[in-house]
């Protein structure tokens, strides 16, 4: 041991310490350190506490209906959402699910080409200032509040759709789908770009060494390697679409419909809760039915986000 000069150097001052030195360091720095540790710990687990708390709350509020009045078959298969009917209230959310699904589906058709294109350009083709500028711009787009998007749908897209397609009302699946697609695209771009960056450079170098062009490198080597991450990006976009409320409330036309074309007005699950909860008597069937929709939404977005997360993590490890 003593042969090693480094260890000897470390040991020497220790050996020189007098025996009665107290190692209990309870000075202010120690307390600050402890306090910060506790704060950081609380911060760290708060997300979990909140998630569980929210789930318990919405489950509790919806439980009376979920285990009582609810006819689960009617709930999922009937398009008749008439919670305030005088003689026969019906709670069917099929049309609302169809509304949310159609809008989200169209949003993905809009968002996937845009976001993947942008991600490929930023990660594989753009260099230097262009690349930095684009990255900042994408993040800026992601920060636009949803009510502003809703406003764009209401006051810009609406007359535009009426003008171009000659339909009576421009608040429909098309409007909301395009708005939602533009909203989801920046987030999807960021995640897709991360996935592309995670592909090791040796893949590109190897492909280039074989004589591939830049485009061939991207399409044959990089995209297949990043496909899990890209799928994760798309799924997160879908999750965003399902959970979005304000823009959808403003742009869909808020009409209970099983859509047969993109020009039909629809109503989303989220928008129904937003529009009706405020004026519903607490504890009534209607109130609990809205919370049951909340539970349903929570489970759906949870599954989507979890799947996306697992897929993205999978690609990072592999």
């Amino acid at each position: 041991m003593a042969d090693n000069p480094v260890i000897a150097a470390v040991e020497r001052p220790q050996a020189a310490l007098p025996e009665e030195v107290d190692f209990d360091r309870r000075d202010p720095d120690w307390f600050i350190d402890k306090a910060v540790q506790i704060l950081v710990f609380i911060g760290g687990i708060s997300a979990i506490i909140f998630i569980i708390g929210i789930f318990v709350f919405i489950s509790k509020e919806g439980a009376g209906f979920l285990f009582g009045e609810l006819d689960i078959v009617e709930f999922f298969t009937s398009p008749r959402w008439r919670p305030t009917s005088e003689h026969n209230p019906t709670y069917g959310i099929l049309a609302l699910i169809a509304g949310t699904a159609s809008v989200t589906g169209l949003a993905m058709i809009v968002a996937i080409p845009f976001s993947l294109g942008a991600a490929i350009f930023i990660a594989e083709f753009a260099t230097g200032k262009t690349r930095e500028f684009l990255k900042v711009l994408v993040e800026l787009l992601a920060a636009i509040p949803s009510v502003v998007w809703g406003f764009i749908g209401l006051s810009i897209m609406n007359p535009l759709i009426i003008e171009i397609f000659d339909v009576p009302v421009g608040l429909n699946v098309l409007n909301a789908g395009v708005i939602l697609g533009l909203m989801a695209a920046p987030i999807m771009t960021s995640i897709a770009e991360d996935a592309l960056n995670a592909v090791p450079d040796r893949y590109r170098e190897a492909a280039e060494a074989m004589g591939a062009t830049r485009w061939q490198v991207t399409i044959r080597a990089v995209l297949p390697a990043a496909k899990n991450g890209l799928l994760g990006a798309v799924l997160l976009g879908v999750g965003r679409g399902f959970g979005e409320t304000m823009a959808v409330l403003m742009a869909t036309g808020h009409s209970i419909n099983l859509p047969s074309s993109v020009f039909d007005s629809v109503r989303a699950l989220t928008a129904t809760i937003a529009a009706e909860l405020g004026e519903t008597a607490v504890g009534s069937d209607h109130y609990m039915a809205l919370f049951t929709i909340g539970i349903f939404l929570f489970i759906i977005t949870f599954i989507i986000n979890l799947t996306a997360d697992l897929i993205v993590r999978g690609v990072r490890k592999g």
């Binding site: 008439r82 305030t84 009917s85 009576p168 009302v169 009409s255 209970i256 419909n257 004026e279």
Partner: protein, 291 residues
């Protein structure tokens, strides 16, 4: 909405605070219908000049909120844009309250169509076929007209969100108790949104309180049935009861009003009080001349 509620809250707080400073004052608690809240507030403010010793604390929250407070006995006057249900009156009696109904005004629900729509009159039965479940009328041609600017002549039905009092009253008055609305109506979150959408859409038909009508919108006259006289929605036809889709605006007191509450109710029903409700766009209970 949020800011309106906030302003009620501030008003209520201010009124209560003011009232507690001047201890000699009598405070009347007044709560309920959002339709009536603006009028109730205007009455309360104006009444301060009439009798400085009485303060009226007004808050909104909806007809249901006001009626619930009446049942629980926590309010002196409950505002409502619908009648109390039998069940509610029974519940109130069980708790020792005896709600007495006072009609303080009327609200006509007008049918709104686009300016270019040639429709001049419509019957309740036709409206029921337009709005009711399994209703036969889907095209403007079914009403025997052609609307310029409306390409495939399909009606665009504009309605209200399902917990609005307007939605409930229109259903009761037009569709009857046993019938629901058609699915696929565009459910707006406020009377103003209904008017805005109908203004811009040639194919559209909507309904809302007369107080929300603008110059850029057409209101056909409404008749009870074919062959009966067709009545244009105005403040006058709403208050004389000839317009078929007018709902009474109500205030409930616990028992026949006494003392300060009686004085306040009498003042509301006087010409001065009725002029205030007219200024707010609702129909007074009788025709009044206001300056």
């Amino acid at each position: 909405m949020r800011s309106r509620q906030l302003s009620y809250l501030i008003l209520v707080t201010a009124v209560t605070a003011y009232a507690s400073v001047a201890e000699a004052r009598t405070v009347i608690q007044n709560k309920g219908s959002d339709t009536l809240v603006n009028v109730a507030q205007a009455w309360a403010e104006e009444y301060r000049k009439v009798d400085p010793d009485v303060a009226v604390a007004v808050s909104g929250g909806g007809s249901g909120t006001g009626i619930a407070a009446m049942i629980n006995g926590t309010v002196d006057i409950a505002n409502a844009s619908r009648k109390m249900k039998d069940k509610e009156i029974k519940l109130a009696n069980e708790r020792g309250q005896s709600p007495v109904e006072h009609i303080v005004g009327y609200d006509a629900l007008a049918v709104f169509i686009h300016q270019d729509n040639p429709l001049n009159e419509v019957t309740i039965e036709q409206l029921a076929e337009v709005y009711g479940e399994d209703g036969k009328f889907e095209n403007w041609a079914d009403l025997g007209i052609e609307v310029p600017g409306c390409k495939d002549q399909t009606m665009v039905l504009v309605s209200r969100q399902n917990n609005s009092g307007t939605y409930a009253y229109f259903r009761q008055a037009v569709l009857g108790k046993a019938r629901d609305y058609k699915l696929g109506t565009r459910d707006m979150h406020g009377s103003k949104d209904v008017v805005d959408l109908v203004e811009k859409t040639p194919c559209a038909i909507g309904y809302s309180g007369l107080a929300y009508a603008t110059d850029h919108i057409k209101m056909p006259c409404v008749s009870k049935a074919d062959g009966e006289s067709c009545v244009i929605p105005t403040v006058a036809t709403a208050s004389d009861g000839s317009y078929p889709i007018a709902r009474p605006l109500l205030m409930y007191t616990n028992g026949e009003p006494q003392g300060a509450i009686k004085a306040y109710m009498d003042w509301i029903l006087s010409d001065v009080g009725q002029c205030i409700i007219q200024q707010k766009g609702y129909a007074p209970i009788r025709s009044v001349t206001c300056n």
